[in-house]
Each structure stands twice: as structure tokens, then as C-alpha cells.
Amino acid sequence: MPVSLANSKLVYEALKECDIHLVSALPETWLVHLIRMAEEDPKMTLVRLAKEEEAVGIAAGAHFAGVKSALLMQNHGFLAAINGIVSFAHLYKIPLLMLISYRGSFGEKDPWQTQGGNVTEPLLRALRIPYIFLDNVDTIRKRIRQAQTLAESSLQPVAILLMRDLMWEE
């Protein structure tokens, strides 16, 4: 499978450096290595979801408990989580570190992913969710650290967009 194992590892290590101890996730192709790493890590709690919106509640519970967490989802999963983001995370000022695989953009071969690709950034902007791209190995650690710092200081959701150039090897 041409999902980049090496770059997934760098992303996972960057999350660990941010003291993340809980990851909630719904599988998608680009995320398989990240989810497996979380599963095999005895110091990480992995919560496999039925639907991405659950992750907002779980992250809020973790935040109340004083545990730093991250959400792994595809951009279509982000669409499925929007009510929870607005009427929980925004309403109650809950920090969310959302790692979103950006499917349906340039280079996408799967027709079913393409509509979600069109609306991901417009929706993030409409929701006033700060976002940053991960598309280069050299900036992974720094950007994940910066995103988590902003989520914690602003008490709001932030998005890290996992890009094809980083996650996929062809």
C-alpha cells in the first residue's frame, strides 16, 4: 500500500512529543499506519469510533480529565462531525487537535472523494477553524506543535490537513 509509512511515523512521533495520550479515529486509507501505531503503543489510548462526531465528545471528556488528545479523520469525517464541533467544541471552548486527511484534491483518482475535497477549506473558513497544511517532512514536527499550542491557548478546534504529497507514495 503506497501510504507513506515513514511520514506516518514522523506524524505519530510529533503527536507523542506534544504529550498526546488519547487518539480517537475512524479508519481511512491514508490513516492506516497512524492508527496501527496508536494501537501498538501501550502508552496511547486508541478509541475506534462508529462516527467521527463521537470524537468531539470524547475529546471534551479527555480535556476535562486533563488528558491531551487528537482526532484522526478523513475530510468527509470532518463533515460528519460539524454539528458537534459547533455546538460542543465552539460553544464550550473545547480544544480539538484534528488531523484531517485531505482527500479529493489534486491527484485524487477515486471519484467518490472529489466533492468532499472541494468543500473542505471553504467549510473550515466558514467555521473559522484555523488550519495548516502538512505536505513536507521538514515541517511536520513544528506545525503539529504549533497547531496544538494554538488549540490549547485559544481553547478551540484547529485542523491539520494531511496532504497527498506527504501521505501517499506513487
Partner: protein, 190 residues
Amino acid sequence: MLRLECLRSVYSDLEDYLVVTIMGAVAAELQSLGHRPNFFYLQHAMGLASSTGLGLALCLPNQRVIVFDGDGSLLMNLGSLTTMARYRPKNLTHVVFDNESLLSVGGFPTATSTGTDLEGIARSAGIPRAVTVRDIESFGPAIRDAAQSWELTTIVAKVEATGPSGYVTDLSLLENRFQFRRYIQSLKQQ
């Protein structure tokens, strides 16, 4: 059975729990009995009270957590039962007040009014203990049995579709949220 009477019958037990409620009548009625810093009222995001309880229970495995859910809210996030069942935290009790209606928006009937059985769904989802309670004498004991069993339990409490005249209280959402988190952090320092 009245939801307010259910809450009153276990109010003193709630001191030992982190409490998460849904919005509307459940939040207003629990507050009417007296707010405490260990109570968090999720005044929107229907369906996510159980997910919040799961997050708390997984992160604080020695702390009892109780969620007061409702039929309308749970029906919006049935997948949550499967996620709770997957990790089955022993310190989590999940109470569903089933009044067979969406009371706060005018009493529209939910699917439990036409035969959907939430206890059966919970059990089939893999929740290790699932019970239905229909009278006030059984409600408190069901909560205490769940605590004693030290197993993830869903308690479906069939209640009347009546509630308070209003739902807005003088506790601001953010005040509640910051107080709740601070309370938990103070527990951890003890």
C-alpha cells in the same frame, strides 16, 4: 415515573460521580435540585453526552462517571453504544431517561413510542449490563447495583413526558464547563 423523582432519589449518590447530562429537562431538573461542581450539562450537541462520559471514564479509570442521557439524544448517536461497548469502561453508568418523545421541542414522539427497545439495542451492541426500570422504587437500586457490579451498565428508565416550564437557568455554559474541569483537576491533586 417522573424523571425529577428519579434524580431526587439518587441525588446524594451523585457526590461520588462525575455527572454528565443532556440538555433540556434533564439539565434543568438536576439543577433545580441543586447544582454541584461535579455536574456538567451538555446544553446542545445532542447525542454526545454518552461520548463525553466515555472520554472521561477512559481517562479517569478509578473515578465513577454517570451520564444522564435521553431517548431522543441516544437515537441521534446509537453508534455511541457500540463504541462504549467496545471499550466497556467499568466506571461508567449510562442512564437513558426514555419519555418516548422530544419533549423540549414540543413533545414529538420518538421511535421508542412505536416499539424501539433501547435496552435491547444496548445489549445487542455489547453493553455488558442493560436493564429497564419502570418504577421509582427500582431506580435508585438500579444505579447502586450498577456501581456495585463495576461493569459498564445502561439503565433505561421509562419516565413520563413531563418537565419543567423552562430550560434556561442562571448557570452560564462556560462557567459550568470551567468549574467542572477545575473540580476534576482538584480531585487529581488530592
